[in-house]
Symmetry: C2
Subunit: 330 residues, 2 copies
């Protein structure tokens, strides 16, 4: 039974329960990010195009601010806060790309950010996060919970937690990757047939799925996740969210999320055409391929979509294929 | 005594004696390359901008077709041939970036290309050149002259030799790098103060110098060449072309040209504000810096300008600085 939800109710919804962003939310995110996020190039992949006999492109999101797409969602989330909320600052937990994305986005708004990071995080990532003026709060992976520490920080300071994927504003921000791909392929006079993206918590994939639905409904979306951490594929097969049993142990660390959220699972389950499971060796080979053929530095998780394409995830066809290189911090 | 040269005379001149391309030649090159060459991004260099207290950008020419700027000049040179000349094919000698640039440009015109390469050239570069359909003609570095072999090929086949830098059309093609930098900096509402580029034979530097003269006359140009192979710096000091004594022995192999030509020396001598001598270790550190901070793969010679900036070649100021990352094939 269809239910009509008014805009007002919908906005209230977002505070309490999470719903997928709509076309106007995506358009608003695109407006907010214009001139703030890097409009990353959609670079022709000459050798892959020859091999596949169709136009293949790489969405070079490694060239985004902070070296990954995460800046987009974080910025769009912080932009949606009230001035009062922003004055109290933001909190996030992440040992990687989301940490730097939130730190950089907060800096754009002149808003303080506290990032909860493991005390054994790589020095480069800690320095990267601090370089945007963020406060880094360490926790002990063995004995402390980052969720609890972040929640306490948020509670004490009245700061807003910026989730890494389970949030409509974050997803609308990541959707701009999909909107840009659609625009740039159309500007070349081509028809977009397929997009292939890495999948961790599903924020980026969800955003792209919604963007394609708006801009190129006939285009298909494929996802790639690490072999042994194929919770998304198993969830789509089972028709319900299934988690990973292992929590670590892959070089594709950017994609090691325990499980999808209700929101990302709900968006993706009917919108994804296939999932690839990428062995670490294939992800590392894709990193080398990206360096040699595209002159782009990708991290293994960021190259998982490329690895899946090299392994043949996209069925034969004539339309354009876009591969998202989602991050390059390793 | 000023001499007025008519357009017709000028065009004849180009066949016999080499003169610098003028503003209309640069504009024509830009028109020819539109939609053919990649309009490479001018990416913000966040950390360098913070450190230098001014906007710093990277012109990511490693993302150009074939992984270096060389495609631009080669394409513009071949475009200037008559149909009849193109039907006889082109010849070039190079063990590196120019080889692939000429091969790819010739393929665009459906024109055959023979590239003279040393028999001990890296397999990847040979394969890269062949991948564009070019014929690779090997020579023995110890006992044969590539110039002689290329000249014989040109003679026998009636093919036109495409020089790697000593040619007005080639320089006009490389000038589009400078035109794009000028446009993109202006589009951001900034004033371009300095461009820093690697210097080998001086084709790219000459093109950028002429582009700046047209588009941003107040901007200064700095060059970088390998330490121990600082023929350009010594030539500018001496007021005449001085060659390198050593011919090899630097990881910055893309820049190991014996000497500038009359044409590039003539263009650059009054237009370059300073030259940096880059030790191999500094070039390699710049390659690592580019990977970490820009997520771009550069070769040591292609990162020489970045190395010079990191070493402080640009005097203090407030205007924008653009660093050309000229190639990424290694």
């Amino acid at each position: 039974m269809p239910v009509t939800v008014s805009d007002a109710e919908r906005m209230v919804d977002w505070k309490t329960r999470k719903v997928a962003p709509g076309p106007s939310d995506l358009a608003a995110a695109a407006r907010r990010l214009r001139g703030v996020a890097v409009r990353t190039p959609l670079a022709p992949a000459a050798s892959l195009s020859r091999e596949m006999g169709r136009p293949v492109f790489v969405k070079a999101e490694v060239l985004q601010r902070t070296g990954s797409f995460k800046f987009r969602g974080a910025y769009n989330r912080i932009a949606a806060l009230t001035d009062e909320e922003r004055a109290r600052g933001v909190v996030a937990f992440s040992s990687g790309n989301h940490a730097q994305g939130v730190a950089a986005a907060a800096a754009q708004f002149g808003c303080s950010a506290a990032i909860v990071m493991p005390s054994d995080a790589p020095i480069g990532k800690i320095a990267g996060t601090r370089s945007f003026g963020a406060e880094v709060v360490f926790y002990d992976r063995e004995h402390e919970s980052r969720e609890t520490i972040a929640a306490e920080l948020a509670e004490t300071r009245g700061a807003v937690l910026i989730p890494s994927f389970d949030d409509p504003h974050v997803i609308a921000g990541q959707a701009t990757v999909g909107l840009e791909i659609a625009e740039d392929v159309a500007a070349r006079g081509l028809v977009l047939d397929a997009v292939v993206t890495p999948v961790g918590g599903g924020g980026l994939a969800s955003g792209i799925a919604l963007a394609l639905e708006v801009a190129v409904p006939a285009a298909r979306l494929y996802g790639a996740e690490p072999e042994g951490f194929d919770d998304a594929a198993r969830s789509f097969t089972a028709g319900r969210i299934v988690g990973n049993t292992r929590k670590s142990g892959s070089v594709q660390d950017a994609l090691l999320t325990p499980e999808l959220s209700d929101l990302t699972f709900g968006i993706l389950k009917s919108r994804i055409s296939g999932m690839g499971q990428v062995p670490d060796g294939a992800a590392e080979a894709a990193v080398r391929y990206a360096a040699r053929e595209f002159k782009l530095v990708a991290e293994p998780g960021g190259a998982a979509g490329l690895a899946a394409v090299l392994a043949g995830i996209v069925p034969e066809g004539a339309g354009a294929v876009a591969i998202v290189l989602s991050g390059g911090n390793s």
